[in-house]
């Protein structure tokens, strides 16, 4: 292709195309640059507008304010706990389940299969779900973020595909040697499906970090709010009283609700940006496997 001489029209198209796509990429990225600049800018100064890429009056007061806030630290604890515990529990339950249904001659395999397929297509029974969680004492309980999400049908399917791709001879020889299934699973299967487990763990971690729904609906105690729910309440209700109190005792008049909000947004989104370069290929592979196969 490159050897051929391109016509002027083609070159013009290439340039316009590239400009358009770069513009699109810029629009995707710019909001993050904007909040980053605002979060490092003096809040009162920012109200004048005109900050686009860099802070005009640099300060770290906004960050100091949020890190002095007990609610934020508490919510961070909730989010970290549910992300770690939820991901670990999810990976364990899903991998075990996937291994079980990967055996084609397992009696009742069809039942186990349908058990994960049906919920994928018949969801949204929020109110009975809430009532059942109430009966199980899970309302206003941090485990409501973790236990119900221990099984994700989509992740099971992803893992099952990975297990099925392994050569059956591996297991057969181990079986002949008299290895038990827990042994085969931990010694042979697990090490070979690490990429699939990484995919599922990253997807699950992302879900837990990003989830705001459970925190908003399944609890009315603000001490159990994850970061996302705290943030949602701040965005919607402008409930910044506690932040402003901290600001007052510091005798800082440079912060505003808006500038503190920006610091919180940056803080909440930062972990995603940090893992994204490494995690990208896992995320995308996970999505692809899920959409193409099955």
């Amino acid at each position: 292709m490159d050897k051929m001489k391109r016509s002027a029209g083609e070159r013009a198209f290439d340039i316009i195309n590239l400009v358009l796509l770069c513009l699109f990429a810029f629009v995707c990225l710019y909001p993050f640059i904007y909040i980053l600049a605002l979060s490092f800018n003096d809040g009162v100064d920012a109200m004048k507008g005109g900050i686009y890429f860099f802070p005009r009056k640099f300060t770290i007061d906004n960050y100091q304010t949020i890190f002095k806030d007990k609610r934020l630290i508490n919510s961070l604890g909730v989010t970290v706990f549910r992300t770690v515990a939820g991901t670990v529990l999810g990976v364990i339950c899903n991998t075990l389940y996937a291994y079980a249904i990967s055996k084609t001659d397992l009696p009742y395999r069809k039942v186990l299969n349908w058990l994960i397929v049906i919920p994928m297509y018949f969801g949204s029974s929020l109110i009975p779900y809430y009532i059942i969680c109430q009966h199980l004492n899970l309302i206003n309980n941090i485990w409501v973020y973790i236990i119900p999400w221990a099984v994700t049908p989509f992740h099971i399917m992803l893992l099952r595909i990975a297990i099925k791709e392994l050569p059956p001879s591996l297991e057969e020889s181990a079986e002949l040697d008299g290895a038990s299934y827990p042994m085969i699973f931990t010694r042979i299967i697990l090490p070979l499906i690490v990429p699939a487990i990484a995919t599922v763990a990253l997807l699950s971690g992302l879900f837990h970090w990003n989830d705001w729904f459970d925190g908003t609906v399944m609890t009315n105690k603000s001490t159990l709010w994850p970061l996302q729910t705290l943030l949602l309440n701040i965005i919607q209700g402008a409930d910044m009283s506690s932040f402003m109190k901290t600001g007052h005792t510091l005798r800082k008049v440079s912060i505003t609700t808006e500038s503190v909000k920006m610091a919180m947004l940056v803080f909440t989104v930062l972990p995603i940006f940090m893992i994204y370069p490494f995690a990208q290929k896992y995320f995308i592979r996970g999505m692809m496997v899920g959409s193409v196969k099955e």
């Binding site: 291994y99 029974s125 929020l126 994204y276």
Partner: protein
């Protein structure tokens, strides 16, 4: 007859042997089964409350049955009519405007020759998909706010004199919703089309070039037909989720000023739980059931169509 009985007994023995052999595997599946039954199947059973006058003391088993009374009440509340209408309007707008865009953008990305640039652009445009709608709402409330970038730029260019209340005005509601939806999903949705394109053999393009087809013609006559199955599948999936309209987006980005247009079925159900617009759990459950049944119906129809299009069924 005798032989089949013998065979049956043998099959039975074999089955028992397998169950014994795989006893560990049932234990492996057990945690999953328990969680699914508790949190996926019991709520489905609990939907019977849509036909009850649910009261918390008597529970699902003891509450009195009222037939279709809750549905009657539901269909008579203005909230329901509004939510149903809004759901359909928003979904349809998204289908018409947001659905074709990733196809177009994929075709454009596919035309980039240098793979480094192509990769970089792809990496960047996927990012918004990975942040929550809470973050997205925070970003766009700020960008579109009174002293935000958009109003700033428009004012300094002299296009507007006063800052526009993008997030709080009904007139701007649909443009804002569609734009932010595109911002969050457009780049990411190109993944599916790009991967379908990567399967096209270079020979096809070479043959087309021999025949004197330019790049535009190649895109129209080779690339587009090669991804048509993916397009059909994605379209069908989109139609299947017509009843959803984007709950996260509506809950995080709307406010009292725009509720008239932003209240969809899912948000209305949730509000029966949190603030009590309809103020009755049974009616909320009825609305949830209504949505689920229509979604399931749409899904079955679209799955059937997917089969017809030789895409393989989704189940």
């Amino acid at each position: 007859m005798q032989r089949t009985a013998v065979q049956k007994a043998a099959a039975h023995r074999e089955r028992r042997r397998l169950i014994k052999k795989y006893r560990w595997l049932y234990l492996f599946a057990l945690p999953g089964v328990v969680v699914l039954i508790l949190f996926a199947y019991l709520p489905m059973v609990g939907l019977v409350m849509a036909f009850q006058q649910y009261d918390p003391v008597s529970g699902f088993l003891g509450s009195p049955w009222v037939g279709l009374y809750n549905f009657q009440r539901l269909f008579n509340t203005p909230t329901f009519g509004r939510a149903f209408r809004n759901t359909l309007i928003i979904s349809t707008l998204k289908l018409v405007i947001c659905f074709p865009m990733p196809i177009l953008v994929s075709l454009l990305i596919n035309e980039i020759r240098r793979s480094r640039i192509k990769k970089t652009i792809q990496t960047v445009v996927y990012i918004p998909n990975f942040v929550s709608w809470v973050i997205a709402a925070g970003l766009w409330y700020s960008l579109l706010g009174n002293s935000g970038v958009v109003n700033n730029v428009l004012t300094s260019l002299g296009i507007i004199e006063e800052p526009v209340l993008f997030m709080q005005s009904l007139g701007w509601f649909y443009p804002v919703i569609l734009f932010t939806e595109l911002w969050k999903t457009l780049g990411y949705n190109t993944i599916f089309y790009m991967s379908a394109m990567s399967g096209i053999s270079t020979e096809q393009y070479e043959a087309a070039m021999m025949d004197g087809a330019g790049r535009f013609k190649q895109a129209i006559y080779i690339t587009l037909p090669s991804i048509s199955k993916t397009i059909v599948l994605m379209f069908i999936l989109q139609v299947g989720s017509l009843m959803s309209a984007g709950f996260d987006q509506m809950w995080t980005m709307s406010n009292l000023a725009t509720r008239e247009l932003s209240d969809i079925l899912d948000t209305a159900v949730l509000r029966t739980l949190t603030s009590g617009t309809i103020n009755d759990l049974s009616v909320g459950a009825a609305m949830g059931l209504f949505k689920s049944v229509i979604s399931l119906g749409l899904f079955m129809v679209t799955n059937f169509l997917a089969d017809k299009f030789d895409q393989g069924s989704l189940v």
